[in-house]
Symmetry: C2
Subunit: 156 residues, 2 copies
Amino acid sequence: MSRANPPVELGPDALLPHSTRRSLPIALLRAREAVMGHFRPMLARHEITEQQWRVIRILAESGKVDASEMADKAFILAPSLTRIIRSLEERGLITKHKDADDGRRVLLEIAPAGMRVIADVSPESRAIYDQLEARYGRERVEVLLDMLDELATLGD
Amino acid sequence: MSRANPPVELGPDALLPHSTRRSLPIALLRAREAVMGHFRPMLARHEITEQQWRVIRILAESGKVDASEMADKAFILAPSLTRIIRSLEERGLITKHKDADDGRRVLLEIAPAGMRVIADVSPESRAIYDQLEARYGRERVEVLLDMLDELATLGD
DNA sequence: ATTTATTAATTAACACGTTAACAATATGTT
DNA sequence: AACATATTGTTAACGTGTTAATTAATAAAT
């Protein structure tokens, strides 16, 4: 006999946690997952992950960059980046070599096979993004980007 | 001799991927990481992860719920939830039992030790959130939540 | 009632996120 | 030069995200 259980009493409202529905962390998570849900199947067809796409895209944008700079630009933590670099190099999408001037640094560069991925994925990615923008509203995307940036840099 | 490498030429702008800085997925990621960066150290002190916190918080809000409902409310995929439930049960923060009416379902309920975590963490969490809200602006948080919700539900 | 299809949860396999510890190289100090 | 310190990248260990396959139980269909 499993009677329906009422929510546990917690006492005064001040002790109650935030309603899950109106919490910033979950709202950001939901929004991000919704957006990535549009991109992921396409990236999967090209057999790359979202993070791998960010890395080769930044290499295409910026030329040769070292691992630290890549970690900053792609918002990927160093240990993750190490694995991603290894995978991309094994697949021949990027090349990697030590910096001659600073033996600690690892310089990354996109390889021809990586350029082909860029050429294949970019138009599809752009199309998905454009459709998203059109549905949400181009100006509102700009407003949202500004608000998100401000949130991300609150502590600076 | 490693000359600085210019960005790779990609041709017409239509083929260029989005600038990393103004892309919705990365902006959402950055904002989320910035926000969670405020909460994570506190949660770590209480030895729970963000996801574990979401689960016990929802159990405190909603009483007894099955795994599917939890997955929906906490935005956690079923395989992750299975692991999180196992961990929380082993630590005695929740209890788990099969639904008598539907043998497939697993019913979750918060345990006394879980209630103590809620009581300990909730005030700190609320304080962090309130400070965040105050710095960003309370009305702007509401606007942002609305915009994020709309983005998350674009395809409905 | 037996078969078929659907659903809930788990498991498996792989990739990434997170923190801490570590190795290798650079830099600074004496 | 020798030492201490700082920085770059890697490894380790654990937890989560993601997709696909699997198991167990229910529901639907003859």
